[in-house]
């Protein structure tokens, strides 16, 4: 039977942050995730490393946490963080009176908000509307959510951490009011097994309620859905926030080659409710075009949605009213020792959440090691020598991107693959510059079970063509190397393309419609993937 001292449930930012902290303090820990890492909220948000400006007025505590953690994350996760800085922009539609309130709140909390002229702002960001009224610079930054999650895992692994994906928790086992283990189910194979453990930490985000239910405990998490849209190119190189009380569609965030606009907020029943619809997209566009007048002429890439877990002791508090601060719930108070839930919070403060939770767990375990997660970088920088080497093997614009994603150790492994077989230098994904060697490296990881898992690790298929070409190449390459996870290649095609389709369906007009016709033309028209699937399903 599998054993660990601590089992962390939930492979989002909070969970991996806890895993890392535990492992760095010498605790034997394993993380269980129901799908792929970062599947939940951690990959379904703007990717904003808050300066805190957004919370300064309404939630000073949250604002303060943000600015402090912002500084820490830039240090430890510098490959995940793009230091874009941000603007807060008051438009002609926004209440003038809010501006001084906001400035005051920022000052109180310690968030630098430097005024610049509209002309200067537009010189720096020429796409901004000419009608805007006021602009302030803040130290916002952009985080690549997937990458941060993965690099936390890479760091945890260095300290012996283990991860199991596509694994659902189906039961919590206790004896004498003490946790002794859990029952898990591999969702790909159906296999059921047990893990013996002393402690369970639930960082299951929107699913925290469901996990707690397994132990007969009530944790009230209200899933709140937010929809976001991604644009095909960098509309802005800086984060642009609306200077008004927090509302829908307030924020534009650049991420590498794309821009994300979000978000919305609506209470939903199920944490799985992550399918956006066309109306939400149109609403976002309407709001966004106040900041960027040409917004509707920009190419959309996809729409996506996630649920943010809003915790409240009061089951009736909803939406933005409920606190975004986090809570640590020690269920010893509910009669079960060895079970903690952590709820609420936001990505920016994941590390702090991890620290607080780990402090509590370590108290129980009598582990005295200090927390070092704020001090040690997640991954080692690639040395200049290694980068020089990488530049010899990667195609143009590929080396730095790959180094950022992979970190030093994995980068070396990828280069070795390229050295052994030069054709591995070829690009599987041309839109996002991902080589065959990197795709294979990602496919070989124990947590990869389908092409989408490879995508999340590499950005393959996340560019302009949304998989129109790389689907075929990646299935072929992965299969040719015996890495296809025992799956039928037609199933691999279907899974990946369906995943891409989910984000395309709500924005099916303009150039997105054209891309869809191309994609269907290739996979259905030419390669008859749907015919093969239908034949098999008989």
């Amino acid at each position: 039977m599998e054993k660990a001292t601590v089992v962390v449930i939930g492979g989002g930012a909070t969970g991996v942050g806890i895993l890392r902290d535990l492992c760095m303090r010498g605790v034997d820990a394993i993380l269980i995730e129901q799908q792929d890492l970062g599947y939940g909220t951690s990959s379904r948000y703007h990717g904003l490393l808050h300066s805190g400006g957004r919370y300064a007025v309404k939630d000073a505590e949250a604002g303060k946490e943000c600015i402090e953690e912002n500084r820490i994350l830039r240090k430890i996760g510098k490959h995940c963080v793009e230091d874009t800085e941000g603007f807060f922009v008051r438009t002609q539609l926004d209440d003038e009176a809010f501006e001084p309130k906001w400035l005051e709140a920022c000052a109180k909390v310690g968030i630098p908000a430097i005024p610049i002229s509209v002309a200067e702002a537009r010189r720096l960001e020429p796409n901004l509307s000419a009608k805007i009224k006021a602009v302030y610079r803040v130290p916002d930054a952009a985080i690549d959510g997937f990458r941060m999650v993965w690099q936390n895992v890479a760091s945890a692994r260095k300290y012996g951490g283990r991860v199991k994906t596509y694994t659902t928790v189906i039961g919590i086992e206790q004896s004498n009011n003490q946790v002794i283990g859990m029952k898990i189910r591999n969702s790909l194979t159906g296999e059921i097994s047990n893990i013996a453990c002393d402690f369970i930490v639930s960082a299951a985000g929107s699913w925290a309620g469901k996990i707690a239910e397994l132990a007969g405990i009530n944790v009230h998490v209200q899933p709140d859905r937010g929809t976001l849209i991604a644009f095909n190119h960098r509309i802005t190189s800086r984060i642009i926030n609306r200077l008004r009380p927090s509302s829908d569609g307030d924020i534009f965030v650049p991420h590498g080659s794309i821009t994300i606009l979000g978000t919305t907020s609506v209470s939903v029943e199920s944490p799985e409710d992550n399918i956006p619809n066309a109306k939400e997209v149109l609403d976002l566009l309407k709001i966004g075009e106040v900041l960027f007048e040409d917004l509707r002429s920009y190419r959309l890439l996809r729409a996506f949605a996630g649920t943010r877990p809003l915790y409240s002791a009061d089951p009736n508090a909803k939406g933005r009213g409920a606190s975004r601060g986090f809570v640590t719930l020690d269920h010893a108070h509910d009669g079960l020792t060895g079970f903690i839930s952590v709820a609420g919070g936001k990505f920016t403060t994941y590390r702090l959440m991890g620290e607080k939770v780990t402090d509590l767990v370590c108290q129980y375990l009598n582990v005295k090691t200090a927390c070092r997660t704020a001090l040690e970088p997640l991954v080692d920088d690639a040395s200049p020598a290694l980068m020089a080497k990488a530049h010899r093997y990667f195609p143009a614009y590929g080396a730095e991107l790959a180094a950022s994603r992979l970190g030093s150790e994995a980068l070396e492994k990828v280069i070795v693959r390229m050295q052994e077989k030069p054709e591995k230098r070829q690009l599987i994904c041309e839109c996002e510059n991902v080589t065959m060697a990197e795709v294979e490296e990602a496919a070989a990881d124990s947590t990869s079970h389908m092409i989408s898992d490879v995508r999340r690790k590499t950005r393959m298929g996340m560019g302009t063509c949304q998989g129109a070409f790389c689907t075929f190449r990646s299935v072929g390459a992965v299969d040719a190397n015996g890495l296809s996870w025992g799956q039928d290649t037609n199933v691999l095609f279907k899974e990946f393309l369906q995943g891409r389709y989910k984000g395309i369906r709500p924005i099916l007009w303009g150039n997105v419609m054209r891309e869809m016709e191309l994609s269907r033309g290739i996979y259905e028209g030419t390669l008859n993937i749907n015919g093969a699937i239908n034949n098999e399903e008989k």
Binding site: H233, R299, Y397, E400, E430, C431, F469
Partner: protein
């Protein structure tokens, strides 16, 4: 600035441009228009790096023409190239090839300057090869008297209808006869031709080697001079299709110059202008019979202008004249691309199907509007070449016009 339909954001990564790129067909070193253009453009907005095969793009515009999405692929390449040179210096070779106007001007100013320069050029091919200019490529000799000098010496008949002629460097310094033929044709149509001697190089050879700021300066100079006339509704005519493309289209795609959309509306290719006169019933149709046979080559930069092949259609009005479209793709030279030592073989490979077709036709002369195309065809197929205006003039004169 007018919103042209060209939009880099529309790329669907379909690869049609890759299938139609003549350079990609000739060499596997070039990573192709899709990659080097719109795909890496997305990367360029967020990162600094260099794509080494960017230098292989010849700016022939075949990618733009084949694109179903209206992506200005070649423009993206040229802008990327210019950006590259913001922090680096062009080679001496590229400088020389881009600044042909300067050398030509000097040669034309001195007595016997052209002859001396030509002698010098032919003797120094070995040295030129050292700095990277192919010793095999058909570098054009200077004419003994420039077009502008010849024009100034000419007594034109004055007419109320006028056009401004933009000769461009090649006609002015290397092939002035074409310019004179054009003037004669316009006169036969009762048009007076105006020539402004302060006009400068259109900038096309500057753009391809990354001298974008200089090209912009030239653009501003030219627009300022030409706008005087276009603002009065007087058309500006080009006989060189690369100059035409640059003046009317690339000035808009590459730069943001005040008034350029308005001025571009009055720019015409010579053949196009005469055909429009024909549509209006204004063309002198007293063509004399020319019982001759030619092959016609459509310059890529003409096809890219979206007006078909007007000179070929115009020649169709001349009785007895048989002109067949070679329809064999790019000749390979694309401006000064084919003069480069490291690109000469590629250029010749690209033009090979055209040369083959010419050979198979058995015809001894090929007609084309573009000066460098004529050089390349003359060199690659060992035939004589003519500008369509020369035939039109010949036809008029055959009928006593």
């Amino acid at each position: 600035m007018k919103k042209h339909f060209n939009n880099p954001d529309s790329c669907t990564a379909c690869t049609v441009c890759v299938a139609h790129c003549p350079v990609s067909a000739a060499t596997n070193k070039f990573r192709g228009p899709k990659m080097v253009g719109p795909t890496l453009e997305r990367m360029r907005l967020s990162e600094e790096d260099v794509e080494p095969s960017l230098e292989y793009c010849s700016n022939c515009k075949n990618c733009d023409m084949s694109c179903p999405s209206g992506v200005p692929i070649s423009t993206l390449n040229m802008l990327a190239r210019a950006n590259y040179y913001k922090t680096r210096k062009q080679s001496k070779r590229d400088y020389i090839l881009s600044h042909g106007e300067q050398a030509a001007k000097m040669a034309s100013m001195l007595p016997f300057g052209a002859a001396i320069a030509n002698l010098g050029m032919s003797m120094s091919r070995g040295i030129m090869k050292q700095i990277g200019i192919s010793d095999k490529a058909p570098l054009p000799p200077y004419a003994s008297t420039s077009f502008i000098k010849q024009f100034k010496a000419l007594r034109q008949q004055s007419y109320p209808d006028k056009v401004v002629f933009y000769p461009g460097c090649f006609i002015n310094y290397n092939d002035p006869g074409v310019g004179m033929d054009f003037v004669a044709v316009m006169q036969a149509n009762q048009y007076e031709v105006i020539v402004e001697s302060d006009l400068v190089c259109c900038g096309s050879p500057l753009v391809v080697n990354g001298f974008l700021d200089e090209a912009e300066a030239n653009a501003k100079t030219n627009i300022q001079i030409l706008k005087k006339w276009t603002d009065q509704g007087i058309p500006v005519i080009t006989c060189c299709t690369s100059c035409g493309l640059m003046l009317k289209q690339e000035y808009q795609e590459l730069f943001h110059i005040e008034g350029v959309e308005e001025y571009a509306q009055h720019l015409y290719d010579a053949g196009e202008f005469l055909l429009e006169l024909y549509d209006k019933g204004r063309l002198n149709t007293k063509f004399g019979a020319l019982n001759e046979q030619y092959l016609y080559h459509a310059p890529c930069h003409l096809r890219a202008q979206g007006m078909g092949l007007p000179s070929l259609e115009l020649l169709g009005l001349i009785p007895g004249l048989e002109v067949k479209n070679a329809d064999a793709g790019c000749c390979g030279i694309s401006g000064n691309y084919g003069f480069k030592e490291d690109k000469y073989d590629i250029a010749m490979k690209i033009g090979a199907p055209l040369f083959q077709k010419i050979k198979e036709s058995g015809l001894s002369t090929v007609v084309s509007e573009c000066g460098t195309c004529r050089l390349q065809i003359g060199h690659g197929a060992q035939v004589k070449t003519l500008h369509p205006m020369t035939l039109v003039r010949k036809s008029y004169e055959a009928n006593g016009q």
